[in-house]
């Protein structure tokens, strides 16, 4: 019987959602393949995360050592490569997160297993996985197959799979020893730093007026700020606006910024990259304005206007002033 491996991700003592999302999908695939689900956890000594995962897996392999209390590139790759070589899982799932992107490609290269990244779905074709992913920032989907191998590796987009309630398994938690011939790490963790704190708290706003790359220039931010003020809303933005230093990071919505939950999210000139969309799933209503009628933001918005954002901003200002 083969295994599907799910590599758990955790930070500051908490298992991250992506782990359960992967376990949910792994459970469905395992049924079709008649194989078992193994969760793999690398954690600090006596952190006892293992029990949380046991509800979702047939088996939980736990490596506990204070050297892996926080993510460590070299140790993760060394430990996981040794484990994969020994157990030869048919499929290994990892998060398409910053840390997943840090170790998955190296693990694939070291084990020789083929890797495909950022899956939004995983299918089976003659007992072999294929995956669906997006290209060109979400404007095109593709179906990807692997060359034949003993095992396959896939990184999974956070939020691609939903978990339904609590897990119903009661997997065995098995403590593992770290491999003996582990090379010493070449990268040393120093600290975490919160970069998103600032003068404006976008997470508490009922109305967010949010600008993206389509605003075009730093000088154009002001007119959108004026609209936000007139509507009694808070100004937020997508990543390119922060990258270009047009607004400070504490305005940023999305994976690397903040998740928000306004009643209304007015997205102006935001294309809708998944990293941004992941931050607005808690919004009650999304109204998107974008010149490009094929912009991915219209696939997640409740209402859309395919027009120039400044036309709409000016009309809204006019409307608000005239009451």
């Amino acid at each position: 019987m083969g295994h599907i491996f799910v590599i758990a991700e955790h930070r500051n003592g908490e298992i991250r959602d992506i782990t359960f999302e992967m376990l949910q999908k792994a459970g469905a695939l395992a049924q079709d393949l008649s194989c078992s689900v193994t969760a793999v956890l690398l954690a600090g000594a006596n952190e006892s995360f293992g029990e949380n995962l046991a509800k979702w897996a047939d088996r939980v392999l736990v490596f506990e050592d204070d050297r892996i209390k926080t993510y460590d590139s070299d140790l993760y790759i060394g430990i996981l490569a040794a484990l994969v070589k020994e157990e030869q899982p048919l499929l290994t799932l990892m998060g398409h997160t910053s840390w997943g992107m840090d170790y998955a490609p190296a693990l694939a290269a070291r084990t020789g297993y083929p890797l495909a990244t950022d899956a939004t779905d995983i299918l089976l074709e003659d007992g072999r996985p294929q995956m669906i992913r997006q290209m060109y920032g979400g404007k095109l989907f593709s179906r990807v197959s692997f060359s034949p191998s003993a095992g396959y590796m896939i990184t999974v987009r956070p939020g691609a799979f939903q978990t339904d309630g609590a897990g119903e398994k009661s997997g065995e938690v098995v403590s593992q020893n770290l491999p003996e011939e582990l090379e010493s790490p070449r990268r040393e963790f120093l600290e975490f730093e919160d970069t998103a704190a600032g003068d404006v708290d976008i997470t508490q706003a009922d109305l967010l007026v949010s600008v993206g790359r389509g605003v075009g220039d730093a000088d154009n931010i002001e007119t959108v700020q004026e609209l936000a003020d007139l509507l009694g809303g808070t100004l937020s933005c997508s990543r390119p606006v922060v990258d270009k230093n047009w607004l400070p990071k504490y305005h940023q919505v999305g994976t690397s910024g903040k998740s928000v939950k306004p009643k209304v999210y007015l997205a102006l000139g935001i294309s809708g990259a998944f990293q941004h969309v992941a931050g607005i799933t808690g919004a009650d209503c999304v109204i998107a304005v974008n010149k490009d009628k094929k912009a991915p933001i219209f696939r997640v918005a409740d209402y859309g206007i395919a027009d120039d954002l400044f036309t709409v901003v000016d009309a809204l200002k006019e409307k608000t002033k005239s009451g």
Partner: protein, 259 residues
């Protein structure tokens, strides 16, 4: 500090309707405009800034055809000292092959740091840099938004989810994948690009690198591409600007946001 920076030219697809070609496995690329991959612009800037502060040389590398040299000339104009283009011919490349070709190109060069993009704007795989690091046996850090050299090491900031940065120290030589926003890429003038034509630009084939045909089997294959379904999505608001504004205000009101 000698730095190698891997760059790539990508089609500009924002505000463009993509069309699928007859093979069903890729888009029609002929009519598209091409630009430097956004992440690479930041990677080149990061390399050139380090070189300006620490000395050393910057080498820009791309895999591509003659038209792709545009992106190398841009790197040279920004301050890179030399450039290498690997011509893959008609070979269809996946992330693994891109990493393998770059590894063979770079392995005999002298370097302290290699910079790659976090991901490319076209395929968005985000795997080439770290795979390259492993093939070269290097320490690495992915998704870097800060780099500070500190005697024989670099202190890096890695961008995690939720506005958190992880600060760590990496031994050299190392490979870093560079995130957008790490710096402000300098402006490149036409004159600058023209001047940079004097700098060395070396072209190599896969044969020059010693690849045999059997080494060049991809690990993944795109079976089909398709456009997102048209049916799902937003209810579109039509009309003149005043009518659209009125509709927006009305919807806001329905959701409990009164102006």
């Amino acid at each position: 500090m000698n730095i190698i920076v891997c760059v790539k030219r990508v089609p500009l697809t924002q505000e463009v309707d993509l069309e699928i070609d007859d093979s069903g496995k890729k888009i029609k690329e002929d009519a598209l405009a091409y630009v430097i991959n956004d992440w690479d612009n930041y990677a080149i800037e990061a390399a050139v800034q380090l070189q300006e502060n620490q000395g050393g040389e910057v080498t820009a590398v791309t895999i591509g055809n003659e038209d792709d040299e545009e992106v190398l000339r841009r790197a040279l104009a920004m301050g890179a000292d030399r450039a290498i283009r690997i011509d893959p011919g008609d070979l269809v490349l996946d992330g693994y092959l891109n990493a393998s070709i770059l590894a063979k190109t770079i392995t005999d060069l002298e370097y302290d740091l290699i910079f790659t993009r976090v991901q490319s704007e076209d395929h968005n795989t985000g795997m080439v840099g770290v795979m390259l690091a492993e093939q070269l046996g290097l320490a690495h850090a992915a998704v870097c938004n800060g780099i500070e050299p500190e005697d024989g090491t670099v202190k890096v900031r890695v961008e995690l989810e939720g506005g958190i940065d992880e600060v760590s120290r990496v031994q050299l030589p190392a490979l870093l994948t560079i995130q957008t926003g790490i710096n402000e890429p300098r402006y490149v003038s036409i004159m600058g690009i023209r001047k940079a034509k004097k700098k060395e630009l070396k072209v190599m084939s896969l044969e020059d690198l010693g690849f045999a045909a059997e080494d060049l089997t991809p690990q993944t294959l795109i079976e089909a591409v398709f456009l997102p379904p048209e049916t799902e999505g937003a209810e579109m608001i039509e009309g003149n600007p005043a009518e659209m504004a009125e509709a927006v205000i009305r919807i806001m009101g329905e959701k409990g946001v009164t102006v």
